[in-house]
Amino acid sequence: MIDEFALQCPMPLTDNPTIQMGHGGGGRMTRDLVEKVFLPVFGNDLLAPLHDGAILPRPGGRLAFTTDSFVVRPLFFRGGDVGTLAVNGTVNDLAMCGARPLYLSAGFLLEEGLPIKDLWRVVRSMGAAAAAAGVRIVTGDTKVVDRGHGDGIFINTAGVGVIETSLTVGPMSVRPGDSIVLNGDIGRHGIAVMAEREGLQFESEISSDCAPLFGPVQSLLEGGIEVHCLRDLTRGGLTAALVEICESARLPMRVEEEAVGVRDEVRGACEILGLEPFSVANEGRFVAFVPARQAEAARQLLGPEASVIGSVEPPGTSPPMVEVRTALGTTRLLDLPSGEQLPRIC
């Protein structure tokens, strides 16, 4: 997240303080916005021609290609904003394919009346996130919708990455006996956004965990870990990630509840709101399925907050579901929530 008052990069002087319908019209106003807001931040030699599409050099290796759209209310929250999400979300989807993220597109749907300073703040966050992740934003688009027909800023990003490993990373490669490694504590992003949206205040502030994940993935690949599957934990949290892989791989899984890190402030917020930390959103966490013999090495490569949280069981030992062993030594199932998690009455 960028401080909007940062002195070294003042807000550009556009003709209007807010987004007008004309900014999406393809005329001079659009040009003004591109030149004053987008180019100064995203500018690179591939974007510079401002042609209908970016012409990219051919990378050596298989390509990964993904797209995602980003809608968040509020636009700004502790630890990030819609811009950091838009870059890291797509970068992370590429990383989960085992790909080094190279290029992004950025499509903006702006709501008429959006303060240019908010757009400027988001664009600068995207620039910073792209630089941190080592990707370039090489093509883009801007449309404006009537006031009341959007929620400030919607962003779509698509991304291309190159796969430099010979491994096939995905649910089809998960094997019985694999260990499941998680790169850190869960739930901070979801609680940070909810706290901001609902005006909830906690004793200690909770910041989003939003972060690019190719770095840690690369450290696994370069460390010689035979990575079978990777999945970032996003909207449905750890629950959705594990259940989806379990259903694709059709293999039972066991998870130790106590091995999954949840910070006290996140647990506390979840208790108050009646939410399940396992199902709360993250933006900088992923699980790696690796051979058991390499689990400890993988954990060490992912840093001090990583932990081995469970394993994939042989087929036939139990139905292909994710079973959690609680601190009490009992078990329960992980199940996808029907829709969004809803705070309980009491």
Partner: protein
């Protein structure tokens, strides 16, 4: 985490489980009243720590589950009106009425908002004087005082565009209805700790005497529940039938007097229909005459609705502890959290939803791989 981990400590839990097993010489059937307790029991697998002679039945204490279909239909009707901002706790939004739910109303353009407190709804009313702001006031004695406070404030401040759709229910009459039924299997109760935080537990003393049933006021953490079961089993084994307070860190015998006074002022005891169970005399709270102007059902003239439950749903029997969720033929097949036939499958505190979420593998057994994958997500 402080004040939480202490009550989830595994060695202590095992110690309690052993102590319960030591005390138990015969089969006993104990009902936990509150949906929050049911949720914790299933989530933490507390029942699997108990000796096989102890059977836990899940009671009627899930506010989402017992809110009658008619009230949901009223809510949908009011929320669909133009000029209305309809406020509710989050987990009421997905509960299906006869034809629709509040999520559906929202997607059709209704202004339906999730709030965390009725005071938030009152604030919305203050900020939107041109709109009618309605709060769906459901729940047991636990949520009633805050709702009473919102109505009381609205009257004091003269906020005329605020009203509440009330469907409050009371725990002791429901317990008496269960005990008085010829199908009753309950031999001991874990009473709902948070209800007793407000109301105290003097109301339970005549019930314990009349039906010779031990009642242990119990909290919601794993160790609370295990200790509650322990105290209840000890009474059963010794032939005692008393009201005991396990949850003394929150509950006093006389309860929270100011909250009770507020309830008495704003509400009056009324007969109330319980979803799946039917009408129980003197089992609900409605607005007292001085506050009748804040009754949304009257204001919007929706108080004449009647609705029929899905005939395949046995939630009434589940709520009374007569059947367990897996005993329902529709469980996990025709009835799932995504397509619930009855409210016990909707709320996360509903017994059917809790069993579906955490337990459905138990009823499926160890099938060969692939054989059950379709069933898992159907």
């Amino acid at each position: 985490m402080k004040y939480l981990d202490e009550y989830r400590d595994a060695p202590t839990a095992r110690k309690y489980a052993k102590a319960i097993a030591r005390e138990t010489t015969r089969p006993w059937t104990i009902m936990e009243v509150c949906g929050g307790q049911t949720h914790a029991i299933v989530r933490f697998g507390i029942d699997t720590l108990l000796p096989p002679q102890i059977s836990l039945l899940h009671g009627p204490g899930c506010p989402v589950c017992v809110t009658p279909l008619e009230v949901l239909d009223q809510a949908v009707a009011i929320a669909s009106r133009p000029g209305v901002i309809f406020c509710s706790f989050g987990d009421m939004l997905r509960v299906p009425g006869s034809e629709s739910d509040l999520f559906q109303v929202k997607s059709n353009g209704g202004d339906v908002r999730i709030v965390y407190s009725p005071m938030d709804a009152l604030r919305i009313a203050r900020e939107n004087p041109g709109k009618e702001v309605v709060f769906l006031a459901v729940g047991f004695e636990t949520t009633a005082p805050a709702n009473a406070m919102a109505v009381h404030r609205a009257k004091e401040e003269g906020i005329a565009n605020f009203s509440v759709l009330v469907s409050h229910v009371l725990v002791p009459p429901a317990m008496e209805a269960i005990l008085g039924s010829h199908q009753n299997r309950v031999q001991g109760f874990l009473a709902a700790g948070h209800v007793c935080t407000i109301m105290g537990y003097t109301e339970y003393e005549p019930l314990a005497r009349k039906y010779h049933v031990p009642i242990v006021v119990t909290g919601f953490e794993p160790l609370d529940i295990l200790q509650g079961v322990y105290l209840c089993v000890r009474q059963l084994e010794e032939g005692r039938a008393e009201v005991e307070n396990q949850y003394s860190r929150s509950v006093r015998r006389e309860g929270n007097r100011p909250a009770q006074e507020l309830l008495t002022r704003v509400f009056t005891v009324v007969p109330r229909k319980w979803r799946g169970i039917g009408e129980i005399p003197a089992s609900g709270l409605g607005l007292a005459p001085p506050y009748a102007a804040f009754d949304a059902a009257r204001r919007f003239r929706v108080d004449d609705r009647h609705a029929e439950e899905n005939p395949d749903c046995i939630s009434g029997l589940v709520l009374q502890g007569i059947k367990k969720p897996q005993e329902c033929p529709a469980f996990g097949t025709k009835c799932t959290p995504l397509h619930p036939l009855g409210a016990t499958m909707v709320s996360s505190e509903g017994a059917c939803a809790a069993y579906y979420k955490y337990r459905r593998h138990a009823s499926m057994g160890s099938a060969p791989p692939g054989a059950t994958a379709g069933g898992a997500s159907s």
